[in-house]
Structures are given as structure tokens and as C-alpha cells.
């Protein structure tokens, strides 16, 4: 077999059983890998009503057919579970080198289930798999545990996935890291891993990936690597990391100032990639086989936090506990907060989301120091944020409430609809630091429609509107029109989102980094098909590639439908659709804009063939995608969703 390793590793921590399951040709062709394999397992093995922290729940780690090869950026891993934050489908994707190592050890996927009696870690040494005691590692930061495991196993070169203290404490938005700093940030699987008493998974792989056509593979990889060199997005990412977006976000008014009360601020450049590079950048880092190297390593040189070091931050890691909570004057406070969320192992976006919601509740008088235990949650209060992050991770005091995520915290505090107005979430998950009133209406549409809740800057990644203008003719080639390359327009956006969601889903099945395709448009779908076929020796077509993404997308959407989540929940926070964008700087391009979601939804549904009333995937489409069993599952639920009793329910999470 070429490309795939051909087997799934299943570890039951309750019984200690370790099994290896073959993945058939038909299965691999249907789901491709990574995200596809994981979504299939979660749909079939984790029922809609199961508590995500129940030992029976699964957490999956998936890699793809090109993982570990010389194609651009093939170290990615998707981590998938039923999300404890949203209660719905949840996955997240990380870089690093662990994914390639897993493939070299001979696996395409790991499924973990059950709960160990005490903290453990899994040690995979090619075909030898052990469950080992991790009691001495519990409570450690990933950077500490990583070193301890390497010393214990006597190998500095192994790669390890780890959770931090937040995961151990089942914080609902705890995340997972590999190689210490590469995070799968969203949807809270770190808490699910912690609920299983699993600290991490160490891997050593001494095998290789069999390539069907090595000459064709080297040709396409060499060609793409050369093509990356002048790519404008690649250059920005390499030079300044994803922080290269800060000044763009500020100009176009999508910079998340104070929980999106504003979209631009005169001090934004304090935290720009340019400033970071000049002041605190220690070195650049890249994931496995990556031609871009967007990773940063930060060393704070001055002030209160001088001497602190960490891997990162990304744009989405820095803005939530920076401008989103009103911190912007001293960028070292922002870098420090990013370091804290990393060390404790929490999703920076939800951490900033829940703190900024709490600050706005405090500002509006919905809560006082009585609820916060004396913490004065004023905008920009860096001292309070520094205290709160560890309190959330360890579930102490007011931190225990915030550890539930923004929407649940609002309910725990009894704040009613007013409280939820300030939780900037969709389907229970905080939106990333990108205001659709400026970033783009395509992005906004994908926030409403994302199959892992209120993300999703990575689900459809509508870069055709963000960076499409840098690639003349590109929007025409795909969409037939250059006008959609303007962010603040509805023109061409429903089709753009449909197309990019499918493209991105298959990219996540291949497990290559979304920055290396359809962000840097140097690599387009036909190039991906070319290296996929060179690796596997198969005859995938561009249609089949996109169709696999469509299948995965529909399966994930169906997971939500089983939770009774559909058309009524296809929303973005009201702030974006009702409050005109205020002016923050005089060169801002989107003053007065509101986000017109409803103008695009109907058309988007038509592309997807979602049923108009329920928003559930239509029966014809499911059958076309070979998902007859899903159609059968959804059949009795369609009328239930439309019943009066369901209509009355307010569903902020599941």
C-alpha cells in the first residue's frame, strides 16, 4: 500500500486493551484521512446525547495519505471529539512534527476511549504500544512534561502530544500541544483527554511512507517549493508570522478591540508582526516539511516579564488576551498572556472570549466584584488578566465559572439574554479575533455555518476575499468574477464559502497546512491532486477531491442536526448584524458597516442543498455522497426540529 499506513490504533484506557484495525481501500477512498477518518469515527461512535466527559466518549488523532512526505507541510494532525465546550461536533488541527512521526510508526489514526484509573501516557514505539504511569507528570506544563518523558524514554528525538493543567482540570476549552508549542487550540478536546486521565502520547516511528511514483512526487514538490518563494502571503507569514495581519486588520477594521466594540485602534502597531520581529522575536520555526515557516519563538527582553520565552504567538493567539480585553499599550503584557495560555494549555481564543465577555458584563453592570470575588474587570487591566488565566486553568474562584466557556458562564451567573449578547459565540464557541464587518462577508457567513461552532476562520478560510486581490485572475478562475476579492461585499460569497469549505475539508483530510494552499494560492487543488496521486498511485480527480470535502462537511453538519441544531442556530453574534462599525483610526476602511448575514444564507443553503426549514443536509445530497445511513438517521429528526417545543428552546450550547 502506498501513502497510507493502512491501520488505526485503538486504545481503551479503561481495560488497557490495544487493538490495530485495518483501514480498507474503500474506506480510505471515501474519507481520505485525518479529519475525514476522525469525523466518521465520532459520528458513528459518539452518540448525540453522550456527555463529552463520559469514559465512552472518543478522542481521535488523524493523519493523512501524504503525511510525512515531501509535499508542502505534511506534519499536521486533526484532533476530534464531541466538544465539551459546545456539546456538538468538535475538531482542531495542529502542526509540528508529531503527525509525520505517527505515520512513520505505522498508523493513520489513533482512537482513545475509556478512562484510566490514574494519570497515564501512551508510548508508541513503532508497533510496540504501552500505557505508562504519568502520575509524576500530572500538573506539569507541556514544556516540563515533554522533557521529563524524553529523559524517561532516553530519546530526545521522539515527538509528544501533551495537555497542560487546564486539560487535567477539564476546562471546557483546554487544548492539546505537540512538540510543546504547536497547539490544536479549539473546541476543548484537551478537557476530554484530561477526563480520560491521559496526559499525552509519545511516538517514535522508524518506518517510512511508501511513495508510488517517487519521480513524479519529487517533480511536483520541487516545482511547488520554487513557486512558494515569491508568493506574497508566504513572504508575509515568514517575515512576521500570522501577526503580519495586525496592521491589515487595523486598516480594514476587523481588529477585535474590546470584545468587538471597535475594529481599529491607534496603538495596534504595538503588537504588529513588524514590531514583534524588531523587539522580541528570538527565531522563526517551521512545522514538518513546511516551505513557509510562520512559527515564532518569543523572548521578552524588558519590563515585568523580561526573560519569559515561548513558542508563538499567532495572530489568533495574541489578540484574544490582548486587544480583545483592552490590553494594547504594552505588548509585553500580550506576549506574557499568550505564554500563560500556552503553558496552562488553554485555547487562547476562548480564554480571551470569556474574559472579554466578563469585562463587558462588568462594564454594563451585569456583574460586580461580588460575583468576581473582588477582581476589578476593567478593560485593559493586565494585572487581573494575569491572575485570571491561572485561575481558569485550575478552576479557582471566579476562574471556575469562566472555565465553563463564555455561554455556560453567562448561564451560571444567571445573566439571561443580556449576558449572551456579550458572549460573541456561535453554537457555544467564541468567534476568533476577526470582525466580519471588516474581514469579509464570506468569513462572516462561514462563522455562522462552521461545523465546529463559532469559528471558523479555518473552516472555509475565505482568503479569496482576504488576499485574492494579490493574485490577479484567481477569483475569476474559481468564481468567474473578480469582485468577490473585496471583503465588504456579498457578491460571490455564497459560492466562495461553499467552494472553500469543501476545499479546506479535503485539505484537512490530507493533513497539510491550510496556509500552504488557498491561503498562499501558489498551491491550488489540481496541485494537491497531483501530489496525492504521486504518493498513492491512485487516480483521484479534482472533482473527487472536492467531493470528499463535501462529504465530510455534510457528515459534520449532520452531527449537529442530531443535536437539534440547524437553521435557527445559523447565526453570528447580534453585535455584528446590528451595530454599525465605529471609527477607530482615520484611515479605517469600513466605518458604518454592518454584516448582512441573511442576504447570503438562502443562496448558500441552495449550494449545499440544505433543507430550507431545518437547515439539515437534504436527503438527495446525503445519498449522492454515499451517506444513506445519515439520511436515515436524520429522517425522524426533521419534523422534530420544526416542532413548537423545539422552536421555543434557546440553544446556546448542547
Amino acid at each position: 500500500m502506498y501513502g497510507w499506513a493502512g491501520q488505526r490504533l485503538r486504545v481503551d484506557l479503561s481495560t488497557g486493551t490495544i487493538t490495530k484495525e485495518p483501514l480498507t481501500y474503500e474506506y480510505r477512498r471515501k474519507w481520505m484521512g485525518g479529519r475525514g477518518f476522525n469525523s466518521d469515527v465520532i459520528y458513528n461512535e459518539v452518540p448525540a446525547n453522550l456527555d463529552p466527559f463520559d469514559p465512552k466518549a472518543r478522542v481521535c488523532f488523524g493523519v493523512g495519505p501524504v503525511s510525512g512526505t515531501a509535499a508542502p507541510s505534511t506534519g499536521r494532525v486533526t484532533v476530534t471529539c464531541k466538544s465539551p465546550l459546545t456539546g456538538g461536533f468538535g475538531d482542531s488541527n495542529m502542526g509540528g512534527h508529531w503527525g509525520a512521526e505517527l505515520k512513520y510508526a505505522g498508523y493513520d489514526q489513533i482512537v482513545v476511549q475509556g478512562r484510566a484509573k490514574h494519570p497515564v501516557y501512551i508510548w508508541i514505539d513503532d508497533d510496540k504500544v504501552e500505557i505508562r504511569d504519568a502520575r509524576h507528570l500530572w500538573g506539569k506544563f507541556p514544556r516540563e512534561a515533554d522533557q521529563m518523558i524524553k529523559e524517561e524514554l532516553g530519546d530526545e528525538d521522539i515527538h509528544i502530544v501533551l495537555i497542560g493543567p487546564a486539560g487535567e482540570n477539564m476546562v471546557r476549552f483546554a487544548c492539546t500541544f505537540n512538540d510543546v508549542w504547536r497547539a490544536a487550540g479549539r473546541t476543548g478536546h484537551g478537557g476530554v483527554i484530561g477526563s480520560k486521565n491521559l496526559k499525552g502520547i509519545a511516538v517514535r516511528g522508524s518506518g517510512t511512507v511508501k511513495i508510488a511514483n517517487p519521480k513524479a512526487m519529487m517533480d511536483v514538490c520541487n516545482r511547488l517549493r520554487q513557486a512558494f518563494k515569491p508568493d506574497p502571503m508566504k513572504i508575509g507569514l515568514y517575515e512576521f508570522g500570522s501577526l503580519c495581519l495586525i496592521n491589515v486588520a487595523n486598516r480594514d477594521g476587523w481588529f477585535p478591540w474590546r470584545n468587538f466594540q471597535g475594529g481599529a485602534h491607534p496603538l495596534a502597531n504595538n503588537m504588529s508582526g513588524e514590531t514583534h520581529a524588531k523587539t522580541v522575536l528570538k527565531h522563526r520555526e517551521g512545522c514538518f516539511a513546511c516551505p513557509i515557516c510562520c512559527g515564532r519563538f518569543t523572548h521578552i527582553k524588558e519590563g515585568k516579564w523580561a526573560g519569559e520565552e515561548f513558542g508563538g504567538p499567532e495572530y489568533e493567539h495574541a489578540v484574544p488576551t490582548g486587544p480583545r480585553v483592552g490590553i494594547l499599550e504594552d505588548a509585553n503584557d500580550i506576549w506574557h498572556n499568550a505564554r500563560l495560555t500556552n503553558d496552562y494549555g488553554m485555547d487562547g481564543i476562548e480564554t480571551g472570549g470569556v474574559i472579554s465577555a466578563a469585562m463587558e458584563w462588568y462594564e454594563k453592570g451585569l456583574i460586580t466584584t461580588k460575583e468576581t470575588g473582588g477582581l476589578e474587570l476593567e478593560w485593559g487591566n493586565a494585572e487581573v488578566v494575569d491572575k485570571l488565566i491561572p485561575m481558569i486553568a485550575t478552576r479557582k474562584g471566579f476562574g471556575a465559572i469562566l472555565a465553563e466557556g463564555a455561554d455556560r458562564a453567562s448561564d451560571k451567573l444567571g445573566l439571561g439574554d443580556k449576558g449572551h449578547y456579550y458572549t460573541l459565540t456561535t453554537r457555544g464557541m467564541t468567534l476568533p479575533g476577526d470582525d466580519p464587518r471588516g474581514l469579509g462577508f464570506g468569513y462572516g457567513l462561514s462563522f455562522a455555518m462552521g461545523t465546529r461552532g463559532g469559528c471558523d476562520h479555518l473552516r472555509s478560510l475565505c482568503c479569496l476575499e482576504l488576499s485574492g486581490a494579490l493574485y490577479p485572475g484567481l477569483n475569476t478562475r474559481i468564481l468567474g468574477d473578480e469582485r468577490p476579492n473585496k471583503p465588504v461585499t456579498t457578491v460571490g460569497k455564497p459560492y466562495m464559502v461553499y467552494y472553500e469549505e469543501n476545499q479546506k475539508a479535503t485539505t484537512d483530510c490530507l493533513q497539510v497546512c491550510c496556509f500552504t494552499t488557498h491561503w498562499c494560492y501558489t498551491v491550488l487543488t489540481p496541485d494537491q491532486v497531483e501530489y496525492l496521486n504521486a504518493v498513492t498511485g491512485l487516480d483521484f480527480t479534482e472533482e473527487e477531491f472536492q467531493e470528499i470535502g463535501e462529504r465530510v462537511y455534510n457528515l459534520e453538519r449532520a452531527y449537529w442536526a442530531r443535536q437539534m441544531s440547524g437553521a435557527r442556530e445559523d447565526v453570528v453574534p447580534e453585535r455584528f448584524t446590528t451595530e454599525p462599525m465605529p471609527q477607530g483610526v482615520d484611515y479605517q476602511t469600513n466605518v458604518g458597516v454592518v454584516f448582512p448575514l441573511s442576504e447570503m444564507l438562502k443562496k448558500y443553503y441552495k449550494y449545499r442543498e440544505y433543507e430550507p426549514g431545518t437547515g439539515f443536509p437534504g436527503e438527495r445530497k446525503l445519498k449522492q455522497l454515499g451517506l444513506d445511513y445519515v439520511a436515515k438517521d436524520l429522517a425522524p429528526l426533521r419534523s422534530k426540529y420544526l416542532s413548537e417545543s423545539e422552536k421555543k428552546k434557546k440553544k446556546y450550547y448542547y
Binding site: G473, T476, R477, L479, G480, T490, V491, Y499, E550, K606
Partner: protein, 80 residues
């Protein structure tokens, strides 16, 4: 080859998001079948132009113009 009127072309040209409607129209006129309709939606505009040229509905020059200028140019070619 004219497969739509000028008025229809104008109507398409004024659409904010034309892809689905134009595919449906081409199918209703039996210019494309269901498989091609699906293939176009999955692959995008370039596939639409390619298949219209293959079927000789548009010339090579019109196909090139469509790829340069976009769908407005294409729909007016379809009305010629």
C-alpha cells in the same frame, strides 16, 4: 451559439452570485448534464468555460475572454 437572449444575459450579468443559476440554466437547456453540473460546482468557473468550449457552445477566443474578464463576458457570448 446563442443559448440565451440578451435580456437573459443582462439578468445573469446583474446577479451577485450567478454560479448555481447559470449551471441550472445550462442544464435546463440540455447544454450540460447532471454530472457536468456537479463537476462545475465542485471545480469552479474554469470548468464551466472548459466544458462550454468542449461542447463548442463558445469559441476558443470567447473562452479566453471569459477567463480574462469573467462571467459577464461569458453570458454575453452565450447570447450571441
Amino acid at each position: 451559439m446563442a443559448i440565451m437572449t440578451k435580456a437573459q444575459a443582462k439578468n445573469f450579468a446583474e446577479m451577485d452570485d450567478f454560479m448555481l443559476e447559470l449551471c441550472d440554466f445550462l442544464k435546463s437547456k440540455s447544454v450540460i448534464d447532471a454530472t457536468t453540473h456537479r463537476s462545475i460546482l465542485l471545480k469552479g468557473f474554469s470548468r464551466m468555460v472548459e466544458c462550454l468550449q468542449e461542447k463548442k457552445v463558445i469559441s476558443a477566443r470567447e473562452a479566453k475572454e471569459a477567463m480574462d474578464k469573467g462571467f459577464t463576458s461569458l453570458v454575453y457570448s452565450l447570447a450571441k
